[in-house]
Symmetry: C2
Subunit: 332 residues, 2 copies
């Protein structure tokens, strides 16, 4: 009989649930707001209801497993949330155990960090699959910067599920403070949040007339605005994306020297500005990593087997959801 | 019949060759100077002669394989040296192929970076073996800073054998230039060479009267001198080891956030000053890595299963040689 798996993308804003065939075609999907303010009970109830609805829609195919992509860090194998910054009140929630008792289904329920899930999707249905790269390291530029590491087609979890937290590696160790306790973390310079903060700073310094216009009109500033301003030649916005690229390049130099995998993938919403930040990224990476210099492809835009390739993600914003559905299949 | 493997530690100063039993007892050993100035041919000839001598001494046990620990980086699986900084003139030397044709033995000859070999030895006969940790990350503080990563008992090579080059990750990206092209590399602050450089700097600044004495007498300054001065309370020498610890802590924060293995081992000659640099190391690591804070053992001096342990290496300066002999056994 045909089988399917269910993926859940537990975001700070929306809960997205979908069923996928064994060939990763989307069969059914449900999206509901994440009622963070109502607390973990409400969110778990909504999640269980949405999962049941998707399971019903996917029948008569047979359910293989359920994967939950959650903001990290997560303690494994328990699937317990650890101080998720965008889900206040969810600390120490035993997500897997709670869902097991709510759903009572005879299949594995697996919890995974959303960034690891996105990397798994890129490995099996995105850039990794397309280019035949079994091992990759992905950075997801969203509200924060997520990181997932795939070795030989499987997520590298480390000892307690907390590998792949490169968003909180310092790129400028004497830089501004990060809520994580470190200073100058990659996340502060390469996330959508960081892009907006830096754009506001350039506006106050008088270098970004367009961002200043928005601020003076009382309008919100988004990373998409900053991208548009940079494309229109706004000096401050160009400086911001140069900083994004430098931070990513410094970070990738460290990851390349540590991991030496064939593929590094940059995904997430802010990766749409690849054309704006990638020149600075490659400049830093080339000057800072001799491993990269020894293994760089001749054409940086084209995957070359046996070399160190840095490319934008192929899957869009659905990679976390698809990857969550893949987790039960490619579990440990 | 009893079997043995031969290890070679190809240092910039000495070529050390030894045979080890399958229980890793040393059976025979030969050490000769590395005739770097006479070029690769001379060194290869000396190495082959020493290997033959060790094989003869270890008979009638059966030879299983030969492992060569060489300064990195090395391109694998070819075993080709890539611009080894302490072996000028050895660039692109196909070490494995050359030795295969010189020795003509019916067993595998495997080339491995010396830092990876040391990490393998710590995994199977040192701190990892003692504590039951299958995965570890080792930093070797010698002339440079070597790095080896062991996942599930095996060396993690990455795509082309160039994983584990954390000595050239920037800890202060706007810091002084490194010959590798990067700035502010860990190696500049945590190697014996870096320790001596920093001690000289503090002497010129008037903060290290004892180092100044040595310089004025025209005597060489060694890392061991700086250790002794720090133990005697010399301000400049204490500052140097505080910097060593800070650099290691920043670097480990990144490695812990990336790899999340249960054990990080600090080895090499300069690790003898553990008592001088470890306070700063743990201070930085705790403030900079939330993964570490969530997983630190209660007693930092004692290995605790399931936690993130940072400990000095258990094996001394012979770990590279022993590890080289282990390489044929634990190959890929």
């Amino acid at each position: 009989m045909a089988t399917f798996t269910v993926g859940v993308d537990m975001g700070g804003t929306n809960l997205r649930v979908a069923g996928f065939s064994s060939a990763w075609e989307r069969l059914a999907a449900v999206s509901v707001p994440t009622r963070v303010a109502d607390g973990p009970r409400a969110v778990l109830g909504d999640m269980a209801a949405a999962i049941r609805q998707v399971i019903d829609s996917c029948g008569p195919a047979e359910l293989e497993g359920i994967g939950i992509g959650s903001p990290g860090p997560i303690e494994l194998p328990e699937g317990r949330l650890l101080e998720p910054p965008n889900l206040p009140g969810f600390h120490a929630l035993a997500l897997r155990a709670e869902l097991e008792s709510l759903l009572d289904v005879p299949v594995p329920i697996v919890v995974e960090s959303d960034a690891n899930a996105a990397a798994l999707a890129e490995a099996h249905a995105g850039a990794g699959e397309q280019h035949g790269a079994d091992s990759l390291c992905m950075l997801t530029l969203g509200t924060g910067v997520g990181n997932g590491i795939i070795f030989d087609g499987r997520i590298w979890h480390g000892e307690r599920g907390m590998a792949g937290e490169a968003g909180h590696i310092a790129v400028w160790p004497d830089g501004i403070e990060c809520p994580c306790g470190n200073r100058g973390c990659l996340e502060l310079f390469a996330s959508a949040t960081g892009i907006v903060r830096m754009a506001r700073e350039t506006a106050y310094e008088g270098r970004s007339p367009r961002t200043r216009d928005l601020i003076e009109r009382g309008a919100p500033v988004t990373a998409q605005d900053v991208t548009r301003f940079a494309e229109e030649g706004d000096e401050g916005a160009l400086v911001v994306y140069d900083t994004v690229g430098r931070a990513l390049g410094i970070s990738l130099a460290g990851l390349v020297n540590t991991l030496n995998v064939p593929l590094y993938v940059i995904g997430g919403g802010a990766a749409a500005a690849w054309h704006l930040f990638s020149p600075a990224l490659f400049r830093e990476l080339e000057s800072r990593s001799y491993v990269y210099r020894l293994t760089a492809p001749r054409d940086k835009g084209k995957f070359t087997p046996g070399r160190t390739n840095v490319l934008p993600a192929m899957l869009g914003s659905g990679s976390g959801l698809l990857g969550a559905a893949m987790v039960p299949r490619f579990q440990r």
